[in-house]
């Protein structure tokens, strides 16, 4: 009798495992299918693409790549260069200055310390679109459209990154350590740069990755600010692809351009997926 119940329980577990793995495999398929198709199609010639659908690579990848890379009307090398400049500079500035600000409100007991902290938390939730109208107006007024630094400098004030850094400091930096460094006679900036920053390395790294990905993918603001072909970033170029006369396009090249837009982030993700996934949870509230 008991043996029988045991067998039933085992069978039940087996069935639920099969169902669960089935669901997981289906979702995995759904997540990868479109990207797989994109990679396949980027290796096929326009004629092959018109001919029909297949899951097998076409052997035309190099030609498509060269066509895409050398296309003068889209100019993807310039776009990638611009995107890299904006993304790398933003990543460096946002992580360094957020760490600096978080350290400032965490370690020092100045008068408005708590008010400052709460203020930053409050502005964290204001969507960036609210400032967009004024931002665009000012950019046009002072002739600052098509200036890449205008997309970079604002990342110094990133409330969400500040919040993350502050939580990290609270969890990892003992104040005694700062005291000890002071006794050794270091000045405050040196303490931050040489002692605190190395401790914050994991947090800085995670935020740099997220910031890089965020600016690499950013479309709304760059699309409003950049209209000079020499200054456009990749997402703006991808969007112009959509508005161009579609029927005349070599589709193999179009797929290749999308691959080029996505690939840098995909490469970063394959290398760092573990720490990125960890970073997703540590940034938000914990119970």
């Amino acid at each position: 009798m008991k043996k029988n119940a045991n067998a039933i329980a085992k069978l039940k577990l087996l069935i639920s495992r099969i169902v669960v793995y089935g669901i997981l495999i289906f979702l995995t398929f759904l997540c990868l299918f479109f990207f797989y198709l994109m990679f396949i199609n980027s290796s096929r010639s326009n004629a092959q693409l018109q001919a029909g659908f297949t899951m097998i690579p076409g052997g035309n990848a190099m030609k498509n790549f060269l066509n895409a890379w050398n296309d003068g009307s889209i100019n993807i090398p310039t776009g990638m260069k611009n995107s890299f400049i904006v993304a790398i500079c933003s990543a460096l500035l946002t992580s360094y200055f957020s760490a600096l600000t978080a350290y400032g409100t965490y370690v020092y007991n100045f008068r408005f310390k708590n008010a400052v902290h709460l203020f930053i938390l409050a502005i964290m939730m204001i969507p960036s679109q609210v400032s967009t109208v004024g931002f665009i107006q000012l950019a046009y007024k002072y002739h600052l459209t098509n200036k890449l630094w205008l997309l970079i400098i604002p990342s110094i004030a990133a409330p969400a990154v500040y919040f993350y850094m502050r939580q990290y400091l609270e969890a990892t930096l003992p104040l005694e350590m700062v005291e000890a460094a002071r006794i050794d006679g270091s000045n405050e900036f040196k303490i931050f740069n040489q002692i605190v920053l190395p401790i914050m390395k994991p947090a800085v790294a995670v935020q740099m990755i997220f910031s890089f990905v965020g600016s690499w993918n950013n479309y709304f603001m760059p699309a409003l600010l950049l209209n000079d072909a020499q200054k456009k970033t990749v997402p703006v170029m991808i969007a112009t692809l959509r508005s161009a006369d579609y029927s005349k396009f070599d589709m193999g090249k179009v797929y290749m351009l999308m691959v080029m837009a996505i690939l840098p982030v995909m490469v970063i993700y394959t290398i760092l997926s573990k720490s990125i996934i960890k970073g997703v949870t540590s940034g938000s509230v914990k119970g």
Partner: protein, 310 residues
């Protein structure tokens, strides 16, 4: 005693100024690039101020005129802001409902000791990936896939499901479904990981004792997991809503900014974007931004509460 206290006080004062030095770059940049533009946005919302060809009209003070104008019926016979708010809400809901259901299920699967799922790292890596993909490129990819000459139509024709290519972008339901599908794919992995962390934060002993009491897994879910997960669930849910209000890249690129068919997939930010195009209608854009801000602020106040509680 008194002396040492004095000394301590002096010490903290002498370091306090460093606090200001450290936070000053943040606040200078914030004031110039965020706060001042925000104030300007609000200020603009009370003025008629736009470009008509080469002429610049205004700025002329119109009070709440721009706000009133936002709620006027247009020539096509509908109130744009009402329609676009509804569009945004519908697009968010049909993406978010499956997103949260699937994420909740997966979070339960992954944390279940009974099921003991293997390959978790692999599955998590895969389902989170779409979140990092450039939304505009992802949307462009969907456009090419579902275009009339794209692989999906080729597939449907070769299978004999349809005999003529479907123009997915001309059908309301299919455009909305595609946008929702993309949003679902981009966000369910992220939600899964956050909910999972929430479940893992619940004291293991509670599950243990419930199991010893002979509670079923449904009982455990409704009486232990869900109530204790609630703060995090609400946080993730409202953050998702705020993200929904800001929906832009996906529908913009998929429909080439037109919100086809007949503006049934135009979102609020696409509407804002139209005001900032050639017409540079700072007045109307300002008024719309203020409304967006109010909507978001109401939702954010809930999030702020959950953070503060911690």
């Amino acid at each position: 005693m008194d002396k040492s206290r004095k000394k301590e006080k002096k010490k903290s004062i002498s370091y306090a100024k460093w606090g200001y030095y450290f936070i000053i770059p943040f606040f200078i940049v914030y004031a110039i690039f965020t706060l001042y533009p925000q104030i300007l946005t609000i200020y603009n919302s009370f003025f008629e101020y736009y470009r008509d060809g080469l002429n610049i009209i205004g700025p002329r003070f119109v009070g709440l005129g721009n706000y009133a104008k936002l709620f006027e019926t247009n020539t096509a016979g509908y109130v744009p802001i009402v329609r676009y708010t509804m569009n945004t809400a519908i697009l968010w809901v049909i993406g978010a409902v499956p997103q949260f259901l699937v994420a909740m299920l997966l979070a339960l699967f992954f944390t279940s000791t009974r099921l003991n799922i293997r390959g978790q790292q692999f599955f998590k890596t895969v389902i989170y990936m779409p979140n990092l993909i450039m939304a505009s490129a992802f949307s462009m990819l969907f456009f090419t896939m579902f275009s009339q000459v794209g692989p999906i139509n080729q597939l449907l024709i070769s299978w004999g499901v349809v005999d003529k290519a479907i123009n997915f972008l001309a059908i309301k339901i299919s455009v909305r479904s595609l946008i929702a599908l993309m949003n679902f794919l981009m966000w369910f992995g992220n939600t899964t990981i956050l909910l999972m962390a929430g479940i893992q934060g619940i004291d293991e002993a509670l599950f243990e004792s419930a199991r010893l009491d002979g509670s079923s897994s449904t009982q455990v879910f409704f009486h232990i997991t869900m109530p204790l997960l609630m703060p995090i669930f609400i946080y993730v849910f409202i953050t998702s809503m705020i993200g929904g209000i800001q929906m832009f890249d996906v529908p913009q690129v998929l429909t080439n900014g037109k919100g086809t068919p007949d503006n049934t997939s135009t979102t609020l930010i696409m509407y804002l974007n139209n005001f900032l195009g050639l017409s540079k209608n700072y007045g109307m854009a300002g008024a719309l931004s203020v409304l967006l801000f109010i909507m978001t602020a109401i939702l954010s106040s809930f999030v702020f509460k959950t953070i503060r509680k911690k």
